[in-house]
Amino acid sequence: MTEKDSARRSIQGKMVDPVTLEIVNGALEAAILEIEALIDRTSMSAGIKEKKDRFVGLFDAKGWMIAGHLAFTGPGLISPLVDEYPVEEMKPGDLYWFNDPYLSKGAIQHLGDMCFITPVFGDSRVIAFSATFGHFRDIGGARPGSISPSATEIFQEGTRIPPIRVVRDGHFNDEAYRIVLANSRFPRELEGDTRAMMAASRLGETRLLELANRYGVLTLTTAFDQLITSTERAARAKLRSLVPEGRYSFYDYVDSDGLGSEPIRVAMDLIREGDEITVDLTGSGTQARGPVNFIATKGFINLMFGRYIAAHDPSLTTNEGLFRVIDRLVTKPGTIMQPNFPAATGLRSHSRLRLSSCMLGNLGQSTNGNASANSPIYEIYTVAMGDPKTGALDVCTEGVGAGLGARPWSDGVDVIYFIAQQNFPIEFMEREHKVRIEQYKIQPDSGGPGYFRGGCGMVRDVRLLERGILSTRMDNVRFPCWGANGGKAGRPGTFILNPDTQKERKLPTIAADIQLEAGDLLRVITVGGGGWGDPFTRPPESVLRDVRRQFVTVEGALEDYGVAVNPVTGQVDEDRTASIRSRAVKPVCRFDRGVATDWLRQRGEVVK
């Protein structure tokens, strides 16, 4: 019996048999991995090739995602395209391109993310789309690297590309392409990246065509529907098991907008009535002058909750079904969650991460404490330097990892850059840029103390070999990652210039246009994740292991955990530990806001 026979027979009953379904699912997953590998091998922006700031998704004709790895994008990527170019007018061999957050209704979050989409044809109609997406290093704009904390309008953040057809019927639109290249400070690199992305998007088309050929269009599209439905059913049930009927509220603050503003509030109400769940963000603050605005979409909110649920059920396949767990999103125009055009959105992850903070805080309440502590946003610094010999511009942008929040069943992970993005090897940095890295290590005591410890941040010392202009980017300094269920908040990070010298200076954690001299040393210290559970109940042997491995200092063990470690013998002083711990007061707050507590109290905020 061949696959086609088997599939044809079962399709008469409007269902694809479970075996074909699983095989289609496996083939989709394999295609995603293959497309990602092509991008990694051929792209040129360091942010894509080393850091892997990219996304690959396969979508059905309705624009629903049928396969992809969980990134922070995906839902809604197809709809801006089909609004501009009706599906009926598309032809095989077409390829489309866009990057604008407003024209894509928030499916793209900031201009640096370039999206390439190929429609896939079967039986003479569009049956699917293959999308690739990567964050390019420089697409023009006011400052090198395009993204800057000082941007106040999206026009300053690079070239806006509305959905355009860059390839028509197999013919490449060189004219439009050259306009985009001409607007980049690094056109050759941009060309390498676009070629990689387009080849990758086409590869998705090839793989989907092979599947359509093998199983027939009807079977394949029916399989897409079934995969989505099966995930949807399981994912909805999972979220509802975590959220009993009722209304839950949580808030957090973005440190600043990049132009020195006061903290900006992000607030989320999570409301369950019957089977319906609503997310309400209307309590969030006014839109920012700086670039920390985020266009919240129902798709993104679903993606965020979906990711959390998928962590609890590895059998869930990633597809549109995960994005159907929240039924309604309410936002208010003019707020940081629904900014009015042309507000800048380059640093949207600062407010986006506070949204996940609110999700975790609400789930912590709805599950009676059985959710993770908070994790920080990643940290980035950019130095624009000139090569003294050639005068060529060099933009060194480096993302550095921070500690993640502790889970109700495990310590947080140390030094992670967001989801699946890699650091730059020192032996790469020093060859590519006029810098020398002098230290790279775990920052002890930075992880929020807890029965489960928050992940630690790190220290990176960067010596400039030429003068340059620095921009810094760090959040969770005024509002650190809160601890949960008696766990303490993670420790804030900082940028220090020339530490331990006469010229030592603390730099603003989010700012542009800082002048640096050749020989200056920039020290980046990143933040730690929140702890979970009372640290004074953490087993002393776990604390000792952390001391030996230098995640916690001897002083930190004593103060944060009530564990006395004898620095000479390297052993736990058990009597002293028992006596300190017996006198300790039990934590009363479910959420520890750390250094932000006083500010919040003064403002009359309820600190739970």
Binding site: P18, N25, A311, T317, Q421, K441, I442
Partner: protein
């Protein structure tokens, strides 16, 4: 001149032995259970058994060539070993932080970072620093090295890795530090990164170095024990060779010095076995698939040569040594079939392993496996290993019925067939990975299906992929030993050098190759007489300036000239286009690594004279068994043949089953097959 050579592959479940008479090519096989606690026990037992079957005196065995899993198991089972790392001051967290990522496909909220082979309390910093240009910025603090050495001795460290920044440009600091550490801590093994992997990217180089440090005590202790056991067993004059991950062999002392190079010893032996056999049989482009109990190993051979990669992994860790490009997936006879929470049928990667094994083995396994599905459909005989292991078919039926068929609303046969379809689809995906995804069309290849379960799946895989032909080797269950007996000596060396076009320093490139070749000649592992007359081959890793991955390109023979460079660049452009569908004519091309491969042939046994007598299929007929091939055909009475009685030239037509001691091949209706002059079963497969 000794009369006999022995190839011994120690796997997780069985130890396979092939003993060959060098003058005649006559070969005897033995299979004994492996002894994981001390693999040398099973090895000696197998060796004696083979000698007994061949009726020879073990003293006449001149050479033992061995495939081992000691290194891999040490890492995968985290065997307790006190390993330390010494590194440049300021950078002790490089190993701990890694690439600061969560693996793709793992979830941000649930991932747990794997514990490194060296924990931070055993990482020591030494003041020294070399720049990106290779200048010494800070000299090595020798006093600090001595202090660390004494500390390592006090801590009872068994093995230590040394990895300094840019040691691939300036190895002196590592070499000097190693001398001091050896003097201060004489009991510990010392591995230095400039020898293990002189390539840029400090995390990956550190990891390769500590993995080498980690496995060295295990491998060298094992090889030491093995050599003395061989002596005790009267094999005094025997020389012991070890298969490495690159498909070549080296003498045991050299293997102990480059222990991590044995990480893929076993799978590499299989690929070399399949390559040798298919070259002999006249097939130069083949895909090899070795299906065992827990996994399937897949590789691609082009123009008679297996493919290489330097982007391997061992467990969760990167291992960027040059190794045979073998893609392994968790799909084998023991792979577990289950219906998950979302109501979907999955097979593998979880495996029932050797213990408890499939339900039908009756060793306490309760979850249905691929082997159970084969049994339920009649595809394997009701007893394995020529009747030694009886199988419980009704238990397998119950497990598939209750755990798969009922929850999915399928019949027993549909459920069992579904399990096979899914495991086949997983293998098809893996074969596509080494073929389609590397720009090769599988329809132009021949499939070599081996390992105990390979011949059960090979014909279905070929049909699904449009591969026209399957080779089922004469002894599919012990093909790895064939590889061991036919391997050559091989060492690979690499050195990072970065040059950017368009004006390449031709003379400097030639000089750097020469320097690398000189290093090869002086390397301690090259100092034995077998290496006399070795062949040296040059390759280079190139990429478009700005890219992060290199492609390996063969360097034409002779000294490097502008013409050599032109040809290299042309090959690079066309390889890039073949792999990734485009080339960048305007982009500059960058050299990243130079590589040198040294090979020396080992003497092989004379080939067995081939018989011309045509066999008759009736002679091999054993009995008929009902097999379920699909809904249309239902249960089909199928003739079963004894492989050992199928003579050269015998033709047969499916449906048919060909059984032998440790393997079963299933031919679907209408498939034609013939035994070739080497005893291989060649099956012609029509695409679906």
């Amino acid at each position: 001149m000794s009369n006999y050579s022995v190839g011994i592959d120690v796997g997780g479940t069985f130890t396979d032995v092939a003993l060959v008479e060098m003058e005649t090519g006559k070969t005897w096989f033995a299979k004994v259970p492996s002894t994981p606690k001390d693999p040398s026990l099973g090895l000696i037992k197998g060796l004696r058994k083979a000698a007994r079957i061949a009726e020879i005196d073990v003293q006449t065995i001149g050479r033992v060539i061995h495939g081992t899993t000691v290194a891999t198991n040490a890492i995968l089972e985290s065997k307790p070993t006190v390993v330390a790392l010494v590194t440049t001051a300021g950078f002790k967290s490089v190993l701990e932080i890694g690439r600061h990522d969560i693996p793709v496909g793992d979830n941000y909220y649930s991932w747990i970072k794997p514990t490194r082979p060296v924990t931070p309390d055993l990482i020591f910093e030494i003041s020294e620093r070399v720049s990106a240009e290779g200048e010494i910025l800070v000299p090595l603090d020798e006093q600090a090295c001595r202090t660390v050495g004494r500390r390592l001795a006090a801590l009872g460290v068994e093995s230590v890795g040394v990895c300094f920044l840019y040691s691939f440009l300036r190895p002196e600091h590592e070499q000097r530090a190693a001398e001091i550490l050896r003097a201060e801590c004489p009991k510990a093994w010392v591995s230095i990164s400039s020898e293990v992997l002189p390539q840029y990217r400090e995390y990956e180089r550190s990891m390769a170095t500590v993995l080498n440090a980690y496995v060295t005590p295990h491998v060298s202790q094992y090889l030491g024990a093995l050599e003395s056991r061989l002596k005790e067993s009267n094999l005094r004059g025997t020389s012991l060779f070890i298969m490495k991950s690159n498909g070549g062999v080296v003498g045991a002392p050299a293997a102990a010095r480059q222990a991590i190079h044995t990480a893929l010893s076993g799978p590499a032996a299989g690929v070399i076995g399949a390559t040798t056999l298919s070259n002999e049989a006249g097939f130069r482009n083949v895909i090899t698939i070795d299906v065992g109990g827990t996994s399937a190993d897949i590789s691609l051979v082009r123009d008679g040569k297996p493919a290489f990669t330097s982007e391997g992994k061992i467990g969760p860790f990167p291992l960027q040594l040059p190794i045979l490009d073998i893609h392994t997936i968790g799909a084998g006879g023991g792979s577990i079939a289950a219906v998950n929470e979302a109501g979907r049928l999955t097979v593998g990667p979880r495996s029932a392993g050797a213990e408890p094994g499939p339900v039908c083995y009756g060793h306490g396994g309760t979850t249905p496996t691929v082997t159970d599905a084969h049994l339920v459909l009649g595809r394997i005989p009701p007893a394995l290993l020529s009747g030694d292991i009886p199988l419980d078919c009704s238990a397998a039926e119950r497990a598939i019925m209750d755990q798969i068929a009922k929850p999915l609303g399928l019949s027993l046969e549909e459920a069992a067939l579904g399990v096979l379809s899914i495991v086949n689809a997983n293998m098809v995906g893996a074969i596509r990975k080494v073929s389609v995804e590397r720009g090769h069309d599988p329809r132009l290849f021949t499939l070599v299906a081996f390992g105990g379960a390979g011949p059960l799946h090979g014909m279905d895989l070929a049909r699904l992929l449009g591969i026209p032909r399957v080779v089922v080797p004469r002894t599919p269950g012990v093909l790895s030993t064939h590889g061991l007996l036919n391997a050559d000596l091989r060492n690979d060396f690499v050195q990072t050098h970065i040059w950017e076009g368009p004006d390449y320093p031709v003379a400097e490139i030639e000089a750097s190759f020469k320097e690398l070749e000189a290093r090869v000649r002086c390397a301690p592992e090259m100092q034995s007489p077998e290496w006399d007359g070795a062949i040296v081959r040059r390759t280079a890793d190139l990429r478009y300036r700005g890219q992060n991955f290199e492609l390996r390109v063969d360097v034409p023979e002779g000294p490097v000239t502008p013409e050599t460079i032109r040809r290299l660049l042309d090959t690079f452009h066309s390889t890039h286009e073949q792999l990734y569908t485009f080339r960048l004519r305007e982009a500059r091309i960058e050299f990243v690594n130079l590589r040198v491969t040294v090979m020396a042939p080992l003497t092989k046994a004379k080939p067995l004279p081939t018989s011309r007598q045509a066999g008759r299929v009736d002679n091999a007929f054993m009995h008929e068994r009902k097999i379920y091939f699909g809904k249309e055909s239902g249960w089909v009475p199928t003739p079963c043949y004894d492989r050992s009685l199928l003579g050269i030239g015998t033709k047969l037509v499916g449906p048919a089953v060909v059984e032998q001691m440790d393997s079963t091949a299933v031919l679907a209706s209408g498939q034609h097959a013939q035994i070739d002059k080497f005893g291989n079963l060649i099956v012609e497969v029509e695409p679906e």
